[in-house]
């Protein structure tokens, strides 16, 4: 049985989130999901276009909705794997459906490109929602051939799946447990992760680094304290921030966190028996090799190992001296020292 959906990949799937794309391919093959890519889609504008012009941002997103409507066959569900793309598509769809002024101005703009969108023609969903609601956890669970027993994961859902939730489909917008359940169905040990829907900093790593680093620190610090082996995400932006900026964050706070972050599709692929390499594992900056090898999953070397002994580059935590030069410290650190 094959379930067909319209698919809006978003720009990062072909760049920083290639591992998400390749692991998604494996997952779709196993679960019988057919993702039909929208032909010649354009960027959703991320969180930047709305800052310059709302009318143009809606028109930009409207083009994607119009193309999706044209391409509808069998399914009218438009799936986006990126939380930011998802929320933007959902936002324009929502405002076109509920605000006649938005609908008419977007369509007037689309006319210049020979396009039109009928509000309500497509249903916008995040990939994760489709897996949980349309495919179902039973189907996921029965496809598991290599349970991830012994792997402790922190489910990091991020902001935008449950917020703003234009259609009011999520009962809990701050502590939903659907992501926990999905990961548990793969056999992984899921820690109770309070900051599961906290912000990864979004564009703050670019425009206000100290704020961005603090938001990343809160996430990896919480995961570390809970003894998690890794964070699991469903958003390229969250993955990029926590993974690629973790080194700079460590330098900023003089910490030594080593907290890998993988996409949920990568873990699904592993549980379905796929090889790590086919799932893009190894392309993360903060290596997940050590954590995966502990549960018996081989991760091939795609580049020089972190150090000669093959250990991840995590250094042991240094003891903080009670006296010494004044160093930046968080309030809770100060308490520990005293």
């Amino acid at each position: 049985m094959t379930a067909t959906f319209l698919y809006y990949p978003g720009c990062s799937m072909d760049g920083s989130a290639k591992a998400y794309a390749s692991s998604l391919e494996v997952v779709c093959r196993v679960l019988g999901i057919d993702l039909e890519e929208i032909d010649d889609w354009n960027c959703c504008g991320a969180s930047e276009y709305f800052s310059l012009s709302q009318a143009k941002a809606h028109a930009l997103i409207g083009r994607n909705l119009a193309l999706a409507e044209q391409q509808r066959n069998g399914s009218s569900t438009l799936v986006a794997p990126c939380s930011l793309c998802y929320v933007n598509l959902a936002k324009t769809e929502h405002y076109m459906r509920t605000d006649r002024a938005v609908a008419s101005s977007v369509n007037a703009a689309l006319e210049a490109g020979g396009l039109a969108y009928t509000p309500g023609a497509v249903k916008v969903r995040h990939l994760f929602e489709v897996v949980v609601e349309e495919i179902g956890l039973d189907a996921v669970h029965s496809a598991v051939t290599r349970p991830l027993s012994g792997l402790k994961v922190a489910p990091y859902l991020g902001c935008l799946v449950t917020r703003p939730d234009y259609e009011g489909r999520w009962a809990s917008k701050e502590h939903p447990v659907a992501f926990d359940r999905l990961l548990a169905s793969l056999g992984a040990e899921v820690v109770d992760f309070p900051p599961r829907t906290d912000c990864c900093g979004g564009h703050m790593t670019q425009i206000g680094p100290s704020t961005g680093f603090e938001l990343i620190r809160r996430l990896v610090d919480a995961a570390d304290r809970l003894g998690a082996d890794m964070l699991v995400t469903l958003c390229p932006m969250c993955q990029m921030n926590v993974d690629a900026y973790q080194g700079e964050m460590n330098r900023h706070f003089h910490t030594h966190h080593h907290m890998p972050i993988l996409f949920f599709t990568q873990l699904m692929g592993l549980a379905f028996g796929a090889e790590a390499h086919a799932l893009g594992i190894g392309s993360e900056v903060v290596s997940a090799r050590h954590a995966l090898e502990r549960i018996g999953i081989e991760v091939p070397v795609v580049e020089p190992p972190p150090d000669a002994a093959g250990r991840p580059p995590a250094r042991p935590k240094r003891e903080k001296k009670p006296q010494g030069l004044p160093m930046p410290a968080m309030p809770e650190d100060a308490e520990v020292v005293r």
Partner: protein, 202 residues
Amino acid sequence: MPGSGHVDAPSPVREGDFLREIVAATEGDSRLGCCIQCGTCGGSCPSAADMDHTPRMLFAMIRAGLRDEVLRSSTPWMCVSCYFCAVRCPQEVHIPDVMYAVKAIATRDGVMPDSTAPDFSRTFVANIHRYGRSFEVGLAAKHYLRHYPLRLPGMAPMGIAMVTKGRMGFTPHRIRGVAGLRAILARAEELERVGAGREVSA
């Protein structure tokens, strides 16, 4: 004094004019007029520490008609759009949308806070106009060289890892329909200008 030194600028005469301008520029029903100044927004905001004003304060300033101060505030530019405030607000004010409206007005009027954020948005959007897609490498390179050159040495290991692991594409993808997309965006801009003109004259 608010607006002193800008006596020639067409500043709103009556209190509430600026509030109306913001409400009109926000899509849907912003509910900004319903704000009860409880401060739940600022208390929920992960980037409030970096803002010139908390969201609550900004809304009070909007009501007080402090147009120039509001448009120059870094607050909306530091918003990460996590929607915590939006789902917690007891009055259901559409706070992130209001922030976008304030930014769009500031952009249109060329009034910018002292922040690299507006420039980041502009570079991002320029890439969309050029290619129809975002171009991660070009965007990051341009932004860091211009605003954070001192961060570059520290970022080198990450940059090298991203390149060797094949996570950075050096050639932007241009969509086939880029001409059509530009026509759509140009029409949207035209319509927006006409719409804004109508609001002012009304």
